[in-house]
Assembly symmetry: C2
Homo-oligomer: 87 residues x 2
């Protein structure tokens, strides 16, 4: 079993009004220390597969389902590895 | 400057139809290895503050703005630390 996290966020070139609104809200609340804010989604998968297969499947799922390639980028991260048997 | 990531996700007791729909879609696409899926949001902050102050501010912002305490939990993680001067 492998836990894989996929992060999906807007490309840097895409304006994100949600992030801007939240950043403005933090300033109104008095948190002037906030200089940057980026917002995205994460998808925590558990795969019944060893790490490298799980990573490859997660990349395919990100490309085919999770991320809009026009506006978004993604990053895949293996959270833990519990391989059983030979690998 | 400190980079802090805040993860917000549903409590385990809350049913997440979006995660269920995505998990079902992965199975339809042939990715039977997917056994679990949890979905959430992340907020990447940059604070003009040293790490421990930034972490405390991020927790306050999560409590007061980002997370719905009735349905959601959050986790705060310091991504990097670049402290300047004394600390």
């Amino acid at each position: 079993m492998t836990k894989v996290r996929v992060y999906v966020a807007y490309k840097a070139s895409i304006l994100d009004p949600q992030a801007q609104a939240i950043k403005a809200a933090t300033h109104k609340m008095g948190y002037q220390e906030v200089t940057e804010l980026n917002v995205g989604k994460f998808f925590d998968f558990e795969f019944d597969a060893e790490a490298e297969i799980a990573r490859a499947k997660a990349i395919e799922i990100a490309n085919e389902l999770l991320a809009n390639p026009n506006m978004e980028t993604y990053k895949v991260e293996i959270l833990n590895e519990q391989s059983e048997g030979a690998n």
